[in-house]
Symmetry: C2
Subunit: 313 residues, 2 copies
């Protein structure tokens, strides 16, 4: 399998990306071939310095870089030789089986939506986050910001995509799906939640267990939790801030350690036809390592094949 | 001043309400006269047992009780002699200056909206919560669930009500108002947030400082944070669960202690013409004590007068 990695994306690239590759090659069982897009003059010497075997990687020279604050659509158009643009070209052509970047999030999303098509039947791709459960378990929350306004049908599709991700990537059998809401009973909530509830209940591809409230997000009530991207993004960033607060206040508790995004690497864009993983701008070696592992797992489990089959009419 | 208190509301009434009154009479400077609605046969003996001077309280017998799970509108209609109904009657007639209950939240909201009119010019009353800031400060978040779907104008009015509450009750001079959003720049967000931003900026009654994200909710970026009641309710309940998690995990940190709702007593319904305070169903003595103090402060500062003046055309 071949995994594309943008070496120029993120605040600490390419150095931390190189360190992440080193970690991966030392620790992974499978060891995919890595296609590294970026400035060859920068990457080459680092690869050698960190003793990464040249036969494990292919450097694909990309002379342009999309900066973190550039306008996504414009940047992709004006910089076809950027590490992100070339990364998507390799993926679209099938030279790679997945693409990873910790660069400009907007450009990654626009690139994913435009270079790679959506899975047939999926109205809106989505991004998710891991929510660590108080009991040690792992939950998946989606959407976390790609779709600030949603239709009820979108939430039902997110549930379907999230269930497959939970099953094949997180290893949760028959994942319980819940609708994030402001009351437990059917009929509660805003207009969107009220309309999404019956669609989720009737969706035969998911195991719907009803509504969960804010207080249940960190409890073991559901494995896959769906909401529109506005609420989801607020939850995501509030949860991320808990890790920082715990560090600042020197609360040395292993639970809050699990809110450290580096543990999870990056966010896959679910609903597009190929694996695309977006990392945090402040990704370091561990995050890059985990993103490569995630890409490997998405390919090895044929997650995208399962998703395509799930949306067949 | 006269404060009405529902003695039958909440899981631990009337005992914990009586204990709360005892705390109040022992510790408060002003000591309002308390009008206690509920079953006289239950309340009287408890009042005597806890050595509450009879001249400090007036028991107003209410033979009916609205249970926690009853349908609000129906219960209010069918039980005009309930402790909540009579409490609102006293408030509407001017015999009391505020009304407090830890009972059926829906019945309290319906009662507040129907027995007591909205402040002239206020489209939708709102409920708020305190968010403890990491640096020791105090923030106010609203709406937290009364208005699951909002118009942009509602958010601007919530900001105005919240600013006055922050100023007169929380003691924050010239409170900074922020829009809870999924990006920092103007133009970010869902359709509601995009439309609310310019209204907030142009509202001369508030000191608008822009958008804040989920990661800023617990930081000292703003004093008053506005959003629709769906997102706000999720944040409220997630924040409440942090206290429980910290207790369960024996994280003895004073910051997480501040997420204990009992510290704040109850939630005022802002935007109705008289002070109405709704307590948590699991309120104990400390929560009742704090709710009485809050009612006292709302009356003593003439908060409602300031709010009415603020909405004059």
């Amino acid at each position: 399998m071949n995994i594309g990695l943008d070496m120029m994306g993120g605040d600490f690239s390419p150095l931390e990306a190189v360190k992440g590759i080193q970690l991966y090659l030392r620790n992974a069982d499978l060891a995919a071939r890595l296609f590294l897009t970026g400035d060859e003059g920068l990457i080459g010497p680092l690869i050698d310095e960190y003793e990464i075997p040249r036969e494990a990687v292919t450097i694909v020279h990309a002379p342009q870089v999309i900066a973190m604050n550039e306008h996504p659509t414009r940047a992709l158009k004006e910089k076809p030789q950027s590490s992100i643009s070339i990364g998507f070209q390799l993926l679209a052509k099938g030279q790679t089986d997945a693409f990873i970047s910790a660069g400009n999030t907007g450009a990654m999303l626009v690139g994913a939506l435009h270079s790679i098509k959506s899975i047939e039947g999926v109205q809106r791709p989505t991004i998710s986050t891991i929510l660590p459960k108080e009991n040690g378990g792992t939950g998946l929350l989606l959407d976390v910001g790609l779709n600030a306004d949603c239709k009820p049908e979108n939430l039902s599709q997110f549930a379907q995509l999230g269930s497959l991700y939970a099953q094949y990537i997180l290893g949760i059998g028959n994942p319980r799906v819940a609708l994030v809401n402001i009351g437990e009973e059917e009929g509660k909530g805003n207009l969107l939640a009220q309309a999404a509830y019956p669609l989720l209940r009737e969706n035969k591809q998911v195991h719907f267990v009803g509504n969960i409230e804010g207080r249940d997000l960190l409890l073991d009530k559901a494995d896959v939790m769906v909401c529109e991207g506005f609420t989801g993004n607020i939850i995501l960033k509030l949860a991320e801030s808990l890790y920082e607060i715990a560090v600042n206040k020197q609360i040395g508790n292993s639970y809050f350690e699990r809110f450290n995004f580096e543990n999870y690497g990056g966010t896959p864009v679910l609903g597009v036809a190929k694996p695309v993983i977006i990392g945090h701008g402040i990704s370091k070696a561990k995050a890059f390592f985990n993103m490569i592992l995630l890409a490997e797992k998405m390919i090895a489990t044929n997650l995208l094949g399962k998703m395509k089959a799930s949306f067949l009419p």
